[in-house]
Symmetry: D2
Subunit: 338 residues, 4 copies
């Protein structure tokens, strides 16, 4: 079977596993206070050029979003604005609402928020009979595989500043965003754009692990309490630190993202060459081609993938995902099937 | 000033105040266990022909919705489906989310849910990565002043039964719904349609007070714990019981609703006679006429009302509300102004 | 039957009812923004000598405690320290925990917190594996009918200041505390002692209603959102404003408290004269005499009261409560029975 | 330095790491639906002789407790009874309260609940003004290193059955409990005793991971929703399955626990031989010797350990912890120091 179902089907990148093996019999302090967490945090601060940032390591995306937003949404009536295709809106089983906060869902064209969309929400929420939007949630890249340009991000930042909103960036696929051929945002731009963001590991080469970066001083205090209260503080925190040390070394993180994107591009070009169209333009490692329904059925025999809820009378959209582990052979084989 | 701003601008109906005065120096048990709460509950059970219903008296609509839905939404991942114009969606400061539950907002034409709209939500929520819809929330009459017909309510009930959903009916303006000229739902239909509903007092003649009626046995246990935990159990619960006894006597409750509707109808006919149109067709005590913007400005000098967010280049929609206390003089005076 | 069961068995004081009747047919703005709420708030600000205080009117004690503490306990891991006999610990069905916050229960001799007891809690809570105490909760008078002296309150305030804690004072029976013969705390001391407190109406002459006074600027923003979100904002907020206007007029509030205390004192003296002892020394309107078990059984035929969980082989403690409505005749009759 | 600070200072047991390496480049389904999670669950069901049990794999203890108790505590006013030294009471930053539920803290002699202590709580919680206890929480072994005997566990079970309570067993150190020389509880007893329990991995040889076993059918539905909502469902769930497969093979799990206990016993005997006493009698891998204060200070130079809050004028209690990785050399060296 060709695996194009998601970007977490394999275990960890071999370099990550090697680091875990090498450090396994070390005795380390618990709860993220070990040398590896400290070293990885320092590597990240240097990478983003923000010596004052706080860096915390958590296990997965839903957990990181829930914990980080707990720091953003202090008062019970504060809400967060998100595209209605945002991961927190649909794929996290109401994790944000479970902590007592409303998400203001916004219908978008392509999964990307804009200042106009945000301000429409603000105008509507006029007094104490409504929740009070205090933050926006965006993903880079988005669930639709698209990236915000640097100027789009700056416009969102300005909109936030003007309206007293904080900006949270979900970087589950930050590797693919930053290594995308269309990208013009740099590591060191991130702390200027977001009040907090996370560097996703699970979808780019770790067994588990996301690095939450807190830039805004107001969000820093007591973050370890929030992490612990959500059961998100590993006794063996070193497991996360060791993996991120490996990711940060020799730019492995972006090399992996770049590989995933290259594989996707080859796949997209091959698909386009055969005359197929895409429901969403290909940009990073998620592709949304429209195939004849019978082809979709036939592909299911040899390829693992998911369908996507865009359908016409004759065609069905499917989602193809590449990762650091996708091989050129898999791409070639897939293209032979269509 | 002519008061057409809302249906809670006055105090209580004189009969309600008289009952409060007459019983004031009685010594009564606390926390809703007094003779008046018991008597009013019994009157309500007879009225709806449901001898097994539990009846609890609470203070206001948001509190009643929040408390009742706490019994519907047992597990943290259970959600409730509502029209996105529903009171719980917009006017309750995120009260439902504050208790940890997501509301599935549904865009509607006119503020009314339909089986088709409900089933679209259900299809989308396919597994444990999503919340699990377990209840629907409707208002009778709606925030748009419309009522569901009996057959529409039965269709919703059947949709709920088919899909394992419970049905909650917000009756803040139940008086106006049941006394509406177009209504074909009877008191005794309500327990067959809803698992729980409330009979609104605040918008129809009490100082405070809503009567929550629990029909479904599964929702009955421990309701007093939920009420107390939300600070919704008055030490002097008799204040609520006494008022509902007065409302239920000699059909006062529907007489008041009927008066509000008649005043609205007179107003609507007068407005239509002058050639104005309505953004939403007039049915109960909420009217949404479209007036020239300059007329709206002029009216504001003599009339208390609210604007409604439907605007054209030349016209602005306003909301006019009548109540048990609106007088024919007020209607006449208003019509002279347009 | 002689009624000594609680201080909320009657309706409202006649002056309060008169005010409600007189204003009933006024048209007023909703949600606490009416002239009566404004006037009553102003009266309270003058009374306590604190022109900048925010005053909000809510329905009952549990609701007020839950709403006020929501402003104190911003972050999910912040906790509040209370005597384990405190109303929030035992009689509110877990209302504080229901909003996500732990109460640090403290075992006390007599229901009163001390700096020593507070500091023991602080020492124990050393890092992020524990909740972080950020406020203390005290009642004046306590559930045991005792009052804190002014110097005891000042010591608590200093302890709070030293340790970065806020102080919340539950004044359900503030009338009885301030009018107690042993009291040396004045209205104008309260804003210097507490960051927020409430002036209880339900147990001292209103139908419903407590006046929440916010002194600390940090707690003021967005309080109306918190009130609305908990279903604690009445559409007819005027009902609360009108009642507090009446309470504040001609010192009616303290006259009522003083009456309750005088009745309790007469009762206590009569009981002591017959040779009975008290489990807790009598100070305000709650008495805890120890009676022979057979006497307790006999009293139950003519008197409404509650038992209290202090028992010896031969004696049972009972709780007797007087109020603004208790009469000298009732006291005399009771004393004849023992 | 001799490491006796905790049982999670090392990485994973070498067999566990080998299994992770061997399966690393396999492509697996996500979210715990892979072959390894299925196989490990099956091994556990066989081990405990309960073919119908549901088994879920989570990351750590706080997360597992919080998620499991969310299934136990359905209604917002339901509470859980725990010894006040229980992990959920003190070391989880209010994680249970953060989900809205009160813990009824019970003062115990030695960290162990008894039927008598439970029933005292039940008697006190008499009506809807109190929370409603619905479950008990115990740890096996406890935070004090003690184990419940089989007859003690049966007595707790009977107490629960009699009073409509569910029983949850925190098995963070279940390996040490079951392999303790004093233990008379067998794997197959556990499903008869507990409605749910977890088999702890973090403190016995995994990088991360606890296996939650749900026995009671009423607790099974929707557990995956609860896990996902708390951010506790790993995309690469295989990481947990693979580790538990390794633990369950050839009884490795109990061999590790047994080793930890043997090392502790050797340590305890050596300490006792030198004339020292224990604040809590040694039973499993946690020891609480009382040492002269100057000895404690001296030990700190060569040994990593924690102090325990039992102090006399001359002596200080310290906590010594052994694990699967503790060596005989370390024990010998430690004993030379005292």
């Amino acid at each position: 079977m060709i695996f194009l179902k998601n970007d977490y089907g394999l275990g960890a990148h071999p370099e990550v596993m090697r680091a875990l093996m090498e450090t396994n019999m070390e005795l380390n302090d618990g709860y993220g206070e070990d040398r590896h967490c400290r070293a990885a945090a320092e590597q990240i601060r240097e990478l983003i050029g923000c010596p004052d940032a706080d860096v915390h390591f958590l296990c997965g995306g839903t957990q990181t979003n829930q914990t980080a937003l707990a720091a953003f949404l202090l008062r019970p009536h504060w809400s967060v604005i998100s595209a209605d295709s945002g991961h927190i809106c649909v794929h996290e089983t109401g994790a944000i609402e479970a902590t007592g906060h409303k998400i203001n869902h916004v219908k978008t064209e392509d999964g990307k928020l804009t200042p106009e969309l945000i301000e429409e929400v603000l105008v509507f929420h006029e007094d104490e009979h409504y929740v009070l939007p205090k933050a926006i949630y965006i993903s880079q890249s988005t669930e639709t595989g698209l990236i915000y340009s640097h100027s789009e991000l700056k416009a969102l930042r300005e909109c936030c500043d003007k309206n007293g909103l904080l900006l949270y960036l979900d970087g589950a696929r930050l590797a693919m965003a930053l290594s995308c051929k269309d990208n013009d945002t740099k590591w060191e731009d991130l702390p200027l754009l977001a009040d907090a963001f996370y560097i996703g590991g699970t979808k780019n080469g770790t067994l588990i692990g996301e690095a939450l970066v807190i830039v805004n001083d107001a969000l820093k205090p007591d973050m370890r309490f929030l992490i612990k209260q959500r059961g998100a503080m590993l006794a063996k925190g070193r497991v996360l630190g060791v993996q991120f040390e490996a990711l940060m070394k020799d730019d492995l993180y972006l090399h992996m993202g770049s590989h995933a994107n290259r594989m996707a591009q080859a796949l997209a070009e091959g698909i386009a060459a055969k005359g197929y169209e895409f429901a969403i333009p290909p940009q990073t490692n998620l592709l949304f081609p429209m195939f004849e329904k019978e082809l979709v059925q036939r592909l299911a025999e040899d390829v693992m993938f998911e369908t996507y809820p865009i359908v016409t009378d004759t065609h069905q959209c499917i989602r193809l995902v590449t990762s650091w582990g996708t091989t050129e052979d898999e791409i070639e084989e897939f293209l032979k099937l269509i």
